[in-house]
């Protein structure tokens, strides 16, 4: 190792040459992308994404494997590096047969997260579904009725049976949940004013999103009411006014100014808007001019332009149309006009269309509905002349047509059949052959000339929607020509994003949608892809009776049922990836502008494997970075995953090709976290895989005493997954199965949610507290027993103990300890658990020393892999036996004798640590003490202490009797080893320090046990205790009064006079203490299910019992007062380790038969040898 000087992006840097370029870059704040590098593992160098240019070597190098060298001239973002990265990503993507998003999302102009909202709807989370839709489409009530559904046209389900009925689902959730949206939050103004000309779907959307970002928005519209074409172009029976009114009202109620009846060019101009101080203008004028048929006399009063006809019906009510009505055209407007004409009393309505049904642009469903209602269709018929007799319209002279060669649009061109003229008799004609834009109001502005296209639409950049005039944007029909509502909505949304960014950055930039991997780019899924899906046809939309409805204006579509929604959302193939929000491959591919098809070739396709209860493996998405394989093998020491085959055929699979759950997999889920793509993902705890976007909430694990901090990622209680607290921006933490998947209990539907009283049922929190106090009042302290689980926060524990104290009771214990002969001595860890990874000699005591603490066991195993010797005392399973350098077997419970013998052997061989021994107040007691006789094996084990500079002794407090604990402490003191007292309960240490440290004692325990056995206990209060597992269960059941706080129903809660739901750690603000003395403060990740947390309930109970009123802060200062080591609880500091006293004395308990009890002091500093040799940095 030596210090070298080199250049990083032109800046001189000095670093140690044992570091790689990547490490040095990160140290210097330069980020280099990588997919295969994990700082915890040796460099691997497979993905090739981390390449950098070393200019003076004339080449690119992998930064993750190359150490920095003297004089290197490193450029992390040079052209050659970027090109190499891009190529690497393109190669990976050429064999990445996976969709980031399904075709529905890709084809939806507004990019609605369809798969996501269908998944929510499937789970009955309709409000969540609605919110998700409204993130990119704020008009689901209207759109759910009128959308042209590009999504359904591209839905992959149609290759199984029929496309998903996506829009029906949208309408369902919108209809059901719209009223719960309420008024949008009035976002404070950001000082920027935007004028929106046109209050149709595009203008409303743009205005809504901009207002939500704080812009002052004014919508100007020429019509008396907002809604644009949705209001004046779509007939009532398709989109009722009331529905539209509701949606428009919601959109503008967040503080949008509205000026209706204001026409551009008449009531205001662009110049006048500018003069008013608008900073930006969005033109969403629509297409309001009906195109003419180009026939003579077509302005006959009985010939109505389509859009004028429809608008007239809305504005003035339906006209009376008697006789035959001919509708000319084949678009949606024509069909709307035809069905409207029926409802205006026409005797017969015929649609004249010059091509055939196949070429008709109108929606199939609309055409079907029209036919059902009695509209007739005359295909291959084109008007040639208006025929009148005097003022009276006789009809249209029409030609019959035939289809010729395809034209530019790809449709076959209709050509007149010579001599086929005939008179089509009509009393009324509606011409619905197209619409045009009225752009006259834009002319002659000093602001500048708004350029137009040859189709008389506003010319604007298709991505940014910027017109030829700065600050003026345009979208919707006026810019694109007549199109669908969803196109207009999409344009409005895009305009809002571009305008927002323009104000933020001063630049008009395309909104980056990000890279999307698409299967179809590599190979359109073929029939074999769809094998295995059960056929199930899409639902029919329930409708009004076909005969009745043509006579009224009632909405035709009645909406689907909840059962149909469940069945239909089940049909979604979930084409997209549920890692879409956090996939590194996706992010980098976007950053490097990657073309997925660039290296297209032979594909490897795999079957997704979802047989594991929590983990989904999808080898299609695997990039063979090997992080999962290496993490599982090298850091967890499990090797459940491995590489199979070689070269291009290489694939990561569970070992021996089994189902993952059938391998050595311990379901820790760390593979999910290290996977940089969607190849290994969480299986959602809902039926559909999502994707569900979540946000992380930091919490703590509520299982064992390791004290893992974790992130609960959720957007609501119904769906969440747990990740470890990241170590730094580049490194994940690690968890075991309990923390990662066990935490799902928080979302269980079986949780107790309401306080209740026996005989009275559900009550509120205050009533429950009063009932609890009433039940205890009048009893003597010794007649009340308080039992708790040490998986509660320190604050909860303190309040629980304070409540006991308030009633004069010292009978408060951890439920598991209540079965013990005496409370184990307060022997505490002297070592931080991380430090065990540097140990060179480890002594484990007892078969179950690490069983409940997998994350700590990972560290111990890593130390052993790195060369630490292991002495195991006690029974062991095969795997642990194999790890042990020296196994000192004995029956369970006899470990004390072995420990005594080992201590004796250490002394005999003179291997004790003199300095450490000297610190013990009773060091002299070692002289002449009779240890258990040592076998040769024990003597050989003792000899390991000779070379050990960093020994550690590990014992489990909850799995051992008190004397094993004491002997382990003695061995540590004798040898100067670090001591780790492992605990099975999340807050065992805190419970011990707080409750046992001030509220009770071993004497009290003995008395309480006797009292319970004698029937002298009159009341019991259980906190998270299921008596089913306790030896005293029967006696507890006989106690006259009982109160129980718990998460789930138990026999105790069934019986309880007072039942109170317990809040788990995930729903509390509080703290726990890990077994090595680290205080972990946390805030709630979810709101308490019951509406209140443990601290509020216990605080209220305490107050009701006459105690002080304590809130969280009050509890914390009270704890700190009682136990000064907990002072940091009160400060806004990061988590810290408890400070404590050094070990004081040897306990030197002889063999259990001739017990020689000596107090063993609390020991919370490092072992001496550790203190000397410890290479760990001090805790931050």
């Amino acid at each position: 190792m030596a210090s070298v000087t080199f250049k990083l992006n032109g800046k001189e840097v000095v670093a140690d040459n044992s570091k790689t370029i990547l490490q040095v870059a990160r140290d210097n704040g330069v980020d280099i992308p990588t997919l295969c590098y994990d700082p915890r593992l040796p460099p691997y160098g497979s993905c090739l994404v981390c390449v950098v240019e070393v200019r003076n070597m004339g080449r690119t190098l992998m930064s993750c494997t190359t150490p920095v060298g003297e004089g290197m001239d490193i450029w992390t973002d040079s052209e050659s590096a970027l090109k190499a990265r891009k190529s690497a990503l393109e190669m990976l993507l050429s064999n990445h047969y996976a969709d980031c998003r399904g075709p529905c999302y890709v084809k939806c102009p507004a990019n609605v997260d369809i798969q996501g909202y269908l998944a929510f709807a499937n789970a009955g989370l309709y409000k969540e579904a609605l919110d998700l839709i409204r993130e990119t489409n704020p008009m689901p009530l209207s759109c759910g009725r009128v959308c042209v559904r590009y999504c359904e046209a591209n839905c992959r389900r149609q290759d199984v049976d029929s496309p998903g009925a996506i829009n029906f689902m949208k309408r369902y959730v919108a209809d059901l949940e719209y009223d719960r949206l309420g008024t949008p939050e009035i976002v404070p103004s950001n000082g920027k004013k935007v004028a929106i000309v046109g209050g149709g779907p595009s203008g409303l959307t743009c205005g809504y999103y901009l207002r939500q970002q704080g812009f002052e928005v004014t919508i100007l519209d020429m019509q008396p009411k907002l809604g644009g074409m949705l209001r004046y172009g779509i007939p009532e029976y398709r989109l009722p006014q009331a529905v539209l009114d509701k949606e428009v009202a919601q959109l503008v109620s967040g503080g949008i100014q509205v000026r209706t009846g204001a026409k551009l060019g008449v009531d205001f101009t662009l110049d006048s808007l500018k003069a008013e101080g608008f900073d930006a203008i969005y033109l969403a004028l629509g297409s309001w001019v009906a195109k003419g048929m180009g026939l003579e006399n077509e302005n006959h009063p009985h010939i109505l332009p389509g859009i004028v006809f429809l608008e007239g019906v809305k504005r003035n009510g339906p006209p009376e149309l008697k006789g035959n009505v001919a509708i000319v055209g084949g678009g949606n407007t024509a069909i709307d006009a035809a069905r409207t004409a029926l409802r205006c009393g026409a005797d017969k309505v015929t649609v004249l269309y010059r091509r055939t049904r196949t070429e008709m642009p109108a929606d199939d469903i609309e055409v079907e509905d029209a036919i059902e209602e009695g509209v007739e269709f005359a295909y291959l018929t084109a008007p040639n002349k208006v025929v009148t007799e005097g003022d009276k319209l006789l009809g249209l002279e029409c030609y019959l047509m035939e289809l010729g060669e395809p034209d530019a649009s790809g449709r076959r061109k209709p050509e007149k059949v010579k001599g086929s003229e005939f008179l089509f008799k009509a009393d009324w004609v509606v011409s619905a052959i197209g619409q045009d834009q009225d752009l006259s109001g834009l002319k002659n502005q000093t602001l500048g000339e708004i350029k137009t296209t040859k189709w008389n639409s506003i010319e604007a950049d298709p991505e940014t929607l910027l017109t030829s005039v700065e600050g003026v944007f345009a979208g919707g029909d006026a810019m694109s020509g007549p199109a669908a509502a969803i196109d207009a909505i999409a344009a409005g949304g895009r305009a809002a994003k571009v305008i927002e960014k323009w104000f933020q950055t001063g630049k008009v930039e395309k909104f980056q949608a990000g890279f999307l991997s698409k299967r179809a780019v590599l190979e359109v899924p073929t029939s074999d892809f769809f094998v295995g899906y059960q056929k199930a046809e899409r639902p029919e939309m329930p409708k009004l009776d076909r005969h009745e409805r043509a006579k009224n204006w009632e909405e035709v579509d009645l909406g689907v049922t909840v059962d149909q929604v469940k069945a239909e959302t089940n049909r979604c193939l979930s084409c997209g990836c549920n890692s879409v929000f956090d996939c590194d491959l996706k992010v980098f591919s976007g950053n490097y502008d990657v073309q997925q098809e660039h290296f297209k070739g032979k594909l490897k396709k795999h079957k997704m494997d979802d047989r594991h209860p929590y983990i989904i493996l999808d080898a299609n998405k695997c990039i063979l970075c090997g992080r999962c394989v290496r993490y599982c093998g090298e850091l967890i020491n499990v090797s459940a995953l491995g590489f199979i085959d070689r070269g291009y055929d290489t694939v990561v699979k569970p070992s021996l090709n089994k189902a993952l759950a059938d391998t050595t997999c311990i379901s820790c889920g760390n593979c999910i976290e290290v996977c940089p793509t969607g190849a290994i993902t969480f299986k959602a705890n809902l039926e559909k895989p999502g994707p569900y976007r979540t946000a992380p909430y930091r919490s703590a694990c509520s299982f064992c005493g390791v004290g893992c901090e974790l992130d609960i990622n959720h957007s609501g209680r119904d769906y969440f997954f747990v990740t470890a607290k990241p170590i730094d921006p580049f490194t994940e933490g690690e968890l075991c199965a309990k923390g990662r998947f066990g935490t799902y209990y928080v979302g269980s539907k079986d949780r107790l949610a309401n306080p209740s009283l026996k005989g009275k049922g559900k009550v509120d929190m205050g009533a429950a507290a009063s009932a609890l106090v009433a039940g205890l009042k009048g009893l003597k302290g010794e007649e009340i027993l308080f039992l708790a689980s040490p998986r509660i926060s320190s604050e909860t524990a303190f309040l629980f103990a304070s409540l006991a104290k308030q009633f004069g009771s010292r009978n408060i214990f951890a439920a598991e300890d209540f079965g013990r002969a005496a409370l184990p001595a307060a022997v505490a860890s002297t070592l931080k658990q991380e430090a065990v990874e540097q140990a060179d000699l480890i002594v484990t005591v007892g078969e179950n020393a690490l069983k409940e603490n997998p994350v700590f066991a990972f560290k111990v195993r890593r130390a052993i892999s790195a060369g630490a010797k292991l002495i195991h005392v006690g029974p062991a399973d095969l795997a642990w036996k194999r790890l042990a350098t020296c196994h000192l077997p004995c029956a369970a419970g006899e470990e004390t004798q072995v420990l005594s013998a080992l201590s004796g052997a250490v002394l005999k061989a003179g291997l004790q640590d003199a300095e450490s021994v000297a610190k013990a107040s009773n060091a002299a007691a070692l002289q002449g003490f009779t240890f258990a006789p040592a076998s040769e094996l024990v003597e050989r084990a003792a000899a390991f202490f000779q070379a050990a500079t960093k020994p550690a002794v590990i014992v489990n407090r909850d799995a051992s009797s008190g004397s094993e604990l004491q002997w382990s402490g003695d061995l540590a003191l004798l040898t100067g080893a670090g001591l780790l007292v492992v605990r099975n309960e999340a807050n065992g240490q805190g419970f011990q320090d707080i409750v046992y440290g001030g509220f009770t004692s071993s004497d009290d325990l003995a008395k309480a046990q006797a009292a319970l056995a004698a029937g002298a206990i009159k009341a019991v209060v259980l906190l998270g205790v299921d008596p089913a597992g306790l030896s005293c269960a029967e006696a507890l059941a006989k106690v006259p009064f009982s109160a129980a706080m718990d998460l789930f129903a138990t026999e105790a809660t069934e019986r309880a006079d007072v039942l109170v739901p317990l809040t788990p750690i995930a729903e509390e603000d509080g703290s726990i203490v890990s077994f090595d003395g680290r205080i972990i403060k946390f805030k709630r990740a979810f709101k308490p299910l019951s509406g209140f947390d443990n601290v509020s309930f216990l605080g209220e109970s305490l107050q009701a019992a006459g105690g002080a009123k304590l809130d969280l802060a009050g509890v914390r200062s009270a704890i700190a007062q009682q136990a000064p080591a907990y002072a940091s609880l009160c400060a806004e500091t990061p988590n810290v380790y408890l400070s404590g006293a050094a070990p004081k004395a040897f306990a030197l308990a002889t063999l259990p038969t001739e017990a020689q009890a000596l107090a063993y002091g609390s020991a919370t500093t490092f072992g001496r040898r550790w203190a000397q040799n410890n290479r760990l940095k001090p805790a931050k």
């Binding site: 993905c47 992998m62 190499a84 690497a88 990976l92 050429s94 290296f599 070689r646 291009y648």
Partner: protein
């Protein structure tokens, strides 16, 4: 008493030497007073195998292309009758005879014992100065002096890397550790290369002796020979030799009365090409998946089982005893400024004489192809040589004057490699040749690095399109792009060199690629999809032979009248072309 020695290397055995040996066994058994029988390894002249030597005192005669019948003739005529059978003689006393020029320009250092002794006999090896070098090193030289002598000799790693051996040993020697390892890389994997196999089969002891010397020099007492399992004879010879050496006390504690102990184990490789890469090889010995890992740390610092390790290949080790015995100066006297000594090549392809040759560095390619190997078969036009196997490249005939020297060969885009040399004539399609080598590397990629795993397949897919006549103009740039990416970004030699055959052929024979793509024509008439077989009406005599032999019966015509090939049915198998006695069928 005459001595009959049968060449029983793998080349001999596969040419039928087993039957020849059997035949001699019977004959000798019946005349045990007249002759004795022995076997030896490959002498290099694989093109004349099976080879048999008849020794009369110091005089020897080498017979080639032997069969059991010829063996009987030779035995009766020469052994019993005392008359040489001139028609079968390949060489006389290794200084005259029809094949003399094959040996004339060769200098045998590595192959000094191959074909000249019984490889199973320690005594014969010792009779040829065997185990004298190790004794000299142990008794007269310090480890540092041994290393200095390697440095002075200029010997470079013969596995392909060409790294100075003395330097490598120096690093390993400087590494401080309680245990060090020495590995002999005998995982010879290049298609068509068999230098190491021949040495291991023909002279295992010089490799083991070289390893002893290396072990002494760097302070390694534990050694592995990582030999591919496809070399069963070599593995057997090594194992048996090691057992004999142990029994004799040449291996084990305090060998040759010194304080130096040395043990050797043979580890069979399962046949993954990439396990020839040193880090993958070590992973394989450790029982792990054979994939390369990043260097540093280099094996000299952290190698096998995490201990300092030195790896050299078979040919390198075989040089070592010679250098110690004959002096570094003598070795350094051979060759060019930066490439000293000799190099063994396995000659394959269209040369007249294929087999194993050892030539001093500094000869030209032309010297090897024409002087040593006698030029091109059927006197066709010399087109190119492929050097370095799938990692190497093509050197066109126009560069045939290139000197064999690490730097000069590298300049052409090819590499010296481990010694594979494929000679090509005008019937070899260079695109097809590149495709062949890439198929090999693509299949042998371990799959770790993105570019090697995916990139080589993409290159191969393009080449397959081109030889199938579906080439596109952009394919050329794509090949170059991919080639550069793969070369620049793979972790080990396999990936870094995999594109070489493609890139060098594109450099020197771009016109052939273009002909395939633009004209749908294979200039060498080799690519099936692009070749058309036509009957020359003038030459065709209507013998009907081709029509009868055609597997798809697509040739029609009456007897004694010119025939016609129905192109729609032709599967381009070339049978008609081969069988026609009148050269009346041509490929266009």
């Amino acid at each position: 008493m005459k001595k009959i020695v049968v060449g029983m290397g793998t080349c001999g055995v596969s040419a039928g030497a087993g039957k020849v040996l059997e035949a001699f066994k019977d004959l000798v058994a019946a005349n045990s007073d007249k002759a004795e029988l022995a076997s030896t390894g490959c002498v290099g002249m694989c093109y004349r195998e099976p080879l048999v030597e008849i020794w009369e005192g110091d005089r020897r005669t080498l017979y080639g292309d032997m069969t059991a019948e010829k063996a009987k003739e030779v035995f009766e005529g020469h052994v019993l009758g005392g008359t040489e059978l001139a028609q079968y003689v390949a060489l006389k006393d290794y200084s005259e005879g029809p094949e003399f020029s094959y040996l004339d320009r060769q200098v045998k250092v590595v192959l000094r014992n191959c074909g000249f002794m019984d490889p199973d006999s320690i005594e014969e090896y010792e009779a040829r100065d065997g185990y004298k070098a190790i004794q000299k090193a142990l008794k007269e030289m310090t480890p540092a002096e041994v290393i200095q002598s390697m440095l002075d000799s200029g010997l470079r790693g013969r596995g392909g890397g060409g790294f100075p051996v003395g330097q490598k040993w120096k690093f390993a020697a400087a590494s401080v550790s309680d245990t060090k390892y020495l590995i002999c890389n005998a995982d010879e994997g290049d298609p068509g290369a068999f230098m190491d196999r021949s040495v291991l089969e023909g002279d295992p002891h010089s490799v083991i002796e070289g390893m002893m010397i290396a072990g002494y020099a760097i302070g390694a007492e534990h050694a592995y020979i990582y030999c591919r399992a496809e070399y069963p004879l070599a593995v057997r010879r090594l194992r048996e030799s090691i057992e004999k050496l142990k029994a004799k006390g040449y291996l084990g504690h305090n060998i040759f009365g010194s304080s130096f102990s040395f043990e050797v184990k043979v580890k069979e490789g399962a046949g993954a090409f990439v396990c020839g890469e040193e880090t993958a090889l070590m992973a394989s010995i450790e029982g792990k998946r054979g994939t390369p890992r990043p260097r540093p740390p280099y094996p000299a610092i952290k190698g096998l089982w995490g201990k300092p390790t030195n790896i050299n290949n078979v040919e390198t080790f075989a040089n070592v005893p010679w250098i110690i015995l004959n002096g570094a100066d003598k070795y350094a006297a051979m060759g060019t400024e930066k490439s000293k000594g000799t190099k063994v090549f396995a000659i394959a392809g269209k040369a007249k004489r294929t087999g194993l040759v050892e030539v001093p560095m500094g000869l030209t390619i032309k010297n090897v192809v024409f002087d040593v190997c006698g030029g091109i078969k059927d006197d066709r036009q010399f087109k190119a040589v492929q050097m370095g196997g799938p990692s190497g490249g093509c050197i066109p005939a126009s560069l045939a004057d290139t000197i064999i020297d690490y730097e000069q060969i590298t300049k052409t885009g090819a590499i010296m490699g481990s010694g594979g040399m494929v000679v090509m004539d005008d019937t070899t399609c260079m695109v097809e040749m590149a495709r062949f080598f890439l198929t090999f590397t693509q299949l042998e990629s371990c799959g770790k690095c993105t570019s090697c795993r995916i990139g080589t397949l993409r290159m191969l897919e393009i080449l397959e399109e081109i030889v199938a006549g579906r080439g596109k103009e952009e394919h050329l740039t794509q090949l170059e792009e991919l080639g550069q990416i793969i070369k620049g970004s793979s972790q080990c030699g396999l990936g870094q060199t995999a594109p070489n055959p493609v890139l060098t052929t594109m450099k020197y024979f771009r016109d052939e690629y273009e002909a395939h793509i633009r004209e749908h024509r294979c200039p060498a008439h080799s690519c099936g999809a692009l070749v058309k077989f036509v009957v020359n009406e003038v030459k065709c005599v209507g013998c009907t032979l081709c029509a009868r032999q055609c597997p798809t019966k697509c040739i029609s015509g009456e007897a004694k009248k010119p025939h016609l090939i129905d192109e729609s049915k032709c599967i381009k198998c070339g049978k008609c072309f081969t069988v026609c006695n009148f050269s009346a069928i041509s490929k266009v």
